[in-house]
């Protein structure tokens, strides 16, 4: 019995001790030390900082159903005195969004509920959304911001642009993106030569540094088979016109004259606004620097004559060239844009089964996803859908044998930079992205999240306008590929001006003159309006349509034109608002904005008035400041500008 008593007493004491450890463990929680340290840290600061009351703090965001306890340790987020304090006490940057309104994890990810460091950054074992590295932060903007251009998120915007331009849609399904135009391959066998094609397939960027065509890392065999397959497509949907025999039979002198003419037209048509020459110039279209070593002259002649006949949908205008001019341009290209260093591939006898094998390769790499060829579409086995890739759980990712960080951002970035890193059997091509570009795309992809955001917080994209101009204007717009550079009623690519309100802005006579001889209002820009060599009736059709459609009555306004007002306006222009800082009149003034020399003949007074009142309402994002002008002042300046003829 005595032993039993001893055992009893000992066990009871042990019982007490063991059960007392649990509250002790609670008492020594990690976050408490951070708060105590915060109080000692702030006590030494010269500024008065309110000490934190020891206890778990949290931000409860009801609308997002999130509880973020990050503020338990990050106590000084709103304390300006701690701007340069070490983490976790540093002040949070001033943002458009308040931390108290949105919490932390909606942007930063990580585990909001956690009160321990490793758990909160999501590096604990069972949390599928670890904290986003700073470089990828903008991905979180995309959770709510579905609009085209997200303010304050340049990386995200760049990423989305790259996804569009790289035509990821060719293989992946991603909601919210549309496929870009890519050359059609029908008749490619009569368009290009074998040497070029082999070089191109092996290394597209070697031919055209700015090309969007990725490197599929084909083996020599694959390249040859694919080239044989493609070259077997020799028939165009429309027959090629023969090149007039004159070019071949012309004398040297006549030829030189033609080349001279072609060179002039090539410049006047401002081809380099869109086409780069050996990497210099525009970025919209194909590099022309070595075009003569690639394309058959007969095809070039036919294509420039009527681009859409051979490449439906191509955003290249049909210039109104005469036959001589066409011949000249082709001759000019033939003489100028030759690749003397082009490597000749070794002689090669086609495999008897090249067609079937080539077709299989064409399918394997989903060439049909981008390029149309004889009705062969996208590959049946598609690449994974990326619509909600940002919500992919870590345990769903196969990192293979790669040694990279086991996180989704690093997975995506690595995949973009080295597409075959995780498994050599993958088919994704290499786009040659720079590190920044890959990061930007990863950011945009991470933003494709399946996170449920309440409707009132979503910023939706502007509905994509399906503006299809009709009639003669429509035909001309199609023929001249205006949408390639101009936006009209929400459709088109914005390289040049948005024309939706053009007739409210510019006077008819000026527009007509501009079509005849385009000139650039801003000489600093590379992209310029080409001279399309339009005829009088065509110009009339265009301007007539603009006068009826691209005009808003609300922008009409009568402005007094008495000398007093004009003098007043002149004073305001030069003395009060210093407009000459950016706009030139005569030879004086800056050239940030367009010169206002002939503003009175170019612009309409209502436009000037409304522009002065609120420039951003007419052209979002313009750097012309809103000066909050009273009506009288805006009228006076308008009156002054209208006198400049």
């Amino acid at each position: 019995m005595n032993t039993l008593r001893k055992v009893f007493a000992a066990v009871a004491v042990l019982f007490l001790i063991v059960l007392a450890v649990s509250p002790l463990k609670d008492f020594l929680r990690e976050w408490k030390r951070y708060q105590v340290k915060y109080n000692t840290l702030t006590a030494d600061l010269p500024q008065r900082v309110k000490p934190v009351e020891i206890g778990i703090r949290q931000i409860w965001v009801e609308k997002l159903d999130r509880v973020d306890r990050c503020v338990t340790c990050h106590v000084g987020l709103k304390e300006p005195a701690l701007k340069n304090a070490p983490e976790p006490y540093r002040t949070h940057p001033q943002m458009f969004h308040d931390t108290e309104e949105f919490g932390c994890t909606i942007c930063h990810e990580g585990q909001g509920a956690a009160t321990e460091y490793m758990e909160s950054i999501g590096k604990g074992k069972y949390w599928d959304r670890p904290i986003l590295p700073r470089a990828f932060m903008e991905a979180s903007c995309a959770k709510c911001h579905k609009e085209q251009e997200v303010p304050g998120a340049p990386v995200l915007n760049l990423g989305r642009k790259l996804i569009r331009e790289s035509n990821c849609l060719g293989c992946h399904k991603i909601e919210g993106y549309v496929k870009q135009w890519v050359p059609v391959l029908n008749g490619v066998g009569s368009k290009v030569n074998r040497a070029w094609l082999v070089n191109w397939l092996k290394n597209p960027a070697g031919y055209a540094p700015k090309t969007r065509m990725p490197d599929f890392m084909l083996s020599n065999d694959e390249t040859n088979t694919l080239a044989d397959f493609l070259l077997s497509f020799k028939e165009f949907p429309a027959p090629l016109d023969p090149i007039p025999a004159r070019l071949a039979s012309a004398t040297e002198a006549a030829k030189a004259k033609l080349v001279e003419l072609g060179s002039t037209r090539f410049r006047e048509a401002r081809c380099i606004s869109c086409h780069p020459i050996n990497g210099k110039g525009g970025y919209v279209a194909t590099d022309l620097g070595k075009i003569a070593s690639k394309a058959d002259p007969r095809w070039l002649y036919n294509y420039i004559k009527n681009p859409k006949r051979f490449q439906p949908g191509v955003p290249m205008p049909r210039y109104r060239f005469s036959e001589d001019e066409l011949l000249g341009i082709v001759a000019y290209m033939q003489s100028e844009f030759v690749d003397y260093d082009m490597e000749q591939p070794p002689a090669h006898t086609p495999d008897p089964g090249f067609f079937e094998k080539g077709r299989a390769l064409f399918n394997k790499y989903s060439c049909g996803g981008c390029h149309e060829l004889g009705g062969i579409g996208r590959a049946e086995v598609m690449a994974p859908e990326l619509t909600s890739i940002g919500g992919k759980k870590l345990y769903e990712i196969d990192f293979g044998k790669s040694k990279i960080d086991q996180t989704l951002p690093s997975y995506l970035t690595t995949k973009l930079l080295q597409p075959r890193e995780f498994s050599s059997s993958m088919k994704m091509p290499k786009f040659g992205f720079s590190d920044e570009q890959a990061t930007a795309i990863a950011v945009a992809l991470l933003g494709n999240d399946d996170e449920k955001i309440p409707d009132e917080l979503l910023v939706r994209p502007a509905p994509s306008a399906a503006f299809v101009p009709q009639g003669g204007f429509g035909k001309l717009v199609d023929d001249l590929a205006c949408f390639g550079c101009h936006v009209m009623n929400g459709r088109g690519r914005l390289v040049a001006t948005d024309l939706s309100l053009e007739a409210s802005q510019a006077q008819r006579s000026w527009i007509e003159g501009y079509f005849k001889i385009p000139y650039s209002l801003r000489p600093v820009l590379t992209e310029r309006m080409p001279n399309l060599f339009l005829q009088g009736p065509e110009i009339k059709t265009l301007v007539d349509f603009m006068e009826t459609s691209f005009i808003a009555d609300s922008l009409d306004r009568d402005v007094p034109s008495d000398p007093v007002t004009i003098a007043n306006g002149r004073g305001l222009y030069f003395e009060r608002y210093g407009c000459q800082g950016c706009h030139q009149i005569g030879t004086k003034g800056g050239y940030v904005g367009p010169p206002l020399d002939k503003a009175g003949t170019r612009l309409k007074r209502g436009w000037i008035f409304h522009w002065l009142k609120n420039p951003q309402s007419l052209k979002p994002g313009t750097i012309e400041p809103n000066n909050n002008l009273p009506d009288a002042e805006a009228e006076a300046i308008t009156a002054y500008l209208m006198t400049l003829k």
């Binding site: 007392a20 321990e116 608002y577 210093g578 003034g589 050239y591 400041p625 000066n627």
Partner: protein, 148 residues
């Protein structure tokens, strides 16, 4: 009873401390604070990744609105600067920048040169940019002169 209980807690702390069944708290703190940035940084390094959000916003806005006259580096040598008289301010000149208060800088951006009795060639952005954006810009402008 409660005090006795806490005495027992202390005993328990002692016993447990000796046995070391719990991870040492001190060490844990140091570890968690010292986790190097690289563990949460991507394999790819972005240029300027060390810059803060405010700096990047400031740089972006500056590049868009200010650099044409004040120059990319803030030296008052933008491509448009040579059309202006007086010349735009050189933000890297710390001697003259020291004389400006934060309030003056913010006022100049918001109200333009005329609002601080300077040249009207400096336009006012108070109705174009938000208060927040102007604060970013003011900070960025301030950071152009190094030895402030």
């Amino acid at each position: 009873m409660r005090s006795l209980f806490f005495v027992c807690i202390l005993c328990a702390l002692f016993v447990v401390g000796c046995k070391g069944t719990r991870p040492q708290p001190e060490e844990e703190t140091r570890q968690s604070v010292r986790v190097p940035d690289s563990t949460i940084q991507p394999a790819v390094a972005l240029p300027g990744k060390t810059s803060s959000y405010e700096e990047r916003q400031g740089a972006f806005l500056y590049g868009k609105y200010c650099a044409v006259c004040h120059g990319q580096e803030g030296k008052g040598d933008g491509f448009n600067a040579f059309n202006l008289d007086p010349r735009p301010r050189d933000f890297s000149d710390s001697a003259s920048m020291k004389r400006l208060s934060d309030g003056q800088i913010i006022q100049t951006i918001s109200g333009g040169g005329r609002s601080v009795n300077k040249s009207p060639l400096m336009p006012s952005y108070g109705w174009t940019l938000s208060r927040q954006q102007i604060l970013y810009l003011a900070d960025f402008v301030r950071s152009r002169s190094t030895d402030f």
